[in-house]
């Protein structure tokens, strides 16, 4: 089953609706990495609320998506990991190191907004400094 990817402002939202095969996951990875560039996205959210199992391939693919998207200029947040899934993942040693996580879609959006806000602040700050220089 193909995962729909929605564009919402600067963000791409991929909402996984059912269990995915390895091929589906690879397809999702390719589609997301490609669209980050096409839509000039600054953030990617992958919603896994509907998944009640996550194997090592799925976790690795999610991590790869995050790292690849970062190389293309977008920050990735994985949202909606179920408590049981989180517990199982940790026991298997699949901990998504270096990837941002959030409780749900709302939190994920808030996280990305904060990141974006942070960047704009830095830019404004820089500009002000330049003004002072003059």
């Amino acid at each position: 089953m193909e995962v729909p990817i929605l564009k919402q402002g600067d963000y791409l939202i991929a909402s996984i609706q059912s269990a995915l095969t390895d091929a589906d996951l690879s397809q999702l990875r390719e589609a997301l990495v490609e669209r980050v560039g096409r839509f000039r996205a600054r953030g990617v959210i992958v919603d896994v609320t509907a998944l009640d199992v996550m194997d090592s391939f799925a976790v690795r693919t999610l991590r790869d998506i995050a790292h690849m998207a970062r190389l293309r200029g977008a920050e990735t947040v994985i949202v909606g990991i179920q408590p049981e899934v989180a517990f199982a993942m940790v026991q298997l040693g699949l901990t998504l190191k270096g990837v941002a996580t959030a409780l749900d879609l709302e939190e994920g959006l808030a996280f990305l907004d904060r990141l974006k806000g942070g960047r704009i602040d830095v830019e404004r700050h820089g500009q002000r400094r330049i003004d002072h220089g003059r």
Binding site: I78, V79, I81, P83, E84, V85, A86, F87, M89, V90, Q91, T95, L96, T101, A102, L103, E107, G108, F111
Partner: protein, 303 residues
């Protein structure tokens, strides 16, 4: 005593239940004998219980009353070959006597004593007719062994049920997840963390993170006396699982001893945010959440 129980179990398993058509008359005779001599055998039994210093937690009258019920259930189980009633009685008895501190060896002991008392009386009655004694014992022994088994198993099961219940209660009591501010949870851990408790703790915390939509969790382990690499790893797992749900975990209250142990045994806690005490942990959590707590006096002059 353990070997005796083993023997009883082995015997019960090895000897197939007697076929009713063969042993019917013999069994009837046996039961009739035991009914006839009820008073005498019962007294003999109680005497031997007291002599063996079993059931010391109960008075003599109580022992006699219980002995009467057990005796009757015992004979009934022999007669009918069904153990449900006896099983129910054993469970009921266990429920009453376990809180009074009656031990497993005592319960097994009294049932075996009753078996011996009855066997003795059978020897006494049939010692002249060896063939008949053999036939009587053929039908008596397997049934008696099964009864001993049933009672012992019933007692142990009841005991285990109580222990499980209490463990559950202790666990429920000992892992409260408290919300101190919007999106800030505290998990004070007190006592010993074993793998099962660690697992339950993590599950409870993860559920609480979800329902309270927590961003920061402070785990306070001031009340944990000792920690080994297993417990430390459980803690790391809890922290990682919480992060997967988008919550930051701060661990507070590591005692000097625990800090030394962890460094000595080389547990990697670099992934974990630790703060000295619970107060510091809450302050750090508030900072992460963007709160600032200011005394009212400091606010007043500005306003």
């Amino acid at each position: 005593m353990a070997t005796k129980v083993k023997e009883a179990q082995l015997a019960a398993a090895a000897v197939p239940p007697p076929k009713p058509e063969d042993t019917g008359p013999v069994l009837r005779e046996l039961v009739a004998h035991l009914r006839q001599n009820r008073t005498q055998l019962r007294e003999e039994w109680v005497r031997r219980i007291i002599q063996a210093q079993l059931l010391t937690a109960m008075t003599e009258e109580e022992i006699f009353a219980e002995a009467t019920s057990v005796y009757d259930s015992y004979v009934e189980a022999l007669e009918t070959g069904t153990y449900e009633a006896l099983q129910a009685y054993a469970r009921n008895l266990s429920e009453r006597i376990i809180p009074r501190g009656v031990e497993t060896h005592e319960v097994v002991g009294i049932v075996l004593l009753l078996r011996d008392v009855m066997a003795r009386s059978l020897f006494a009655k049939y010692h002249e007719d060896f063939d008949k004694l053999n036939r009587i014992l053929d039908s008596y022994e397997p049934a008696a062994n099964r009864i001993a088994n049933t009672v012992a198993v019933g007692f142990v099961q009841e005991r285990e049920r109580i222990i499980r219940q209490q463990q559950e209660a202790i666990r429920e009591l000992s892992t409260p997840v408290l919300q101190v501010r919007e999106r800030l949870l505290i998990l004070p851990i007190i006592g010993v963390i074993d793998p099962q408790r660690a697992r339950q703790l993590t599950e409870q915390l993860l559920r609480a993170i979800r329902t309270n939509r927590a961003k920061v969790v402070v785990i306070d382990i001031t009340g944990v006396a000792a920690m080994d690499s297993n417990v430390a790893n459980h803690l790391v797992q809890t922290v990682e699982a919480s992060r997967l749900l988008g919550a930051t975990v701060i661990v507070t209250g590591l005692s000097p001893e625990i800090a030394q142990t962890l460094v000595t045994i080389g547990v990697d806690l670099s992934e974990m945010a630790t703060v000295g005490d619970l107060q510091g942990g809450i302050e750090e959590a508030e900072r992460l959440l963007g709160y600032k707590v200011v005394p009212l006096e400091d606010l007043a002059p500005k306003a």
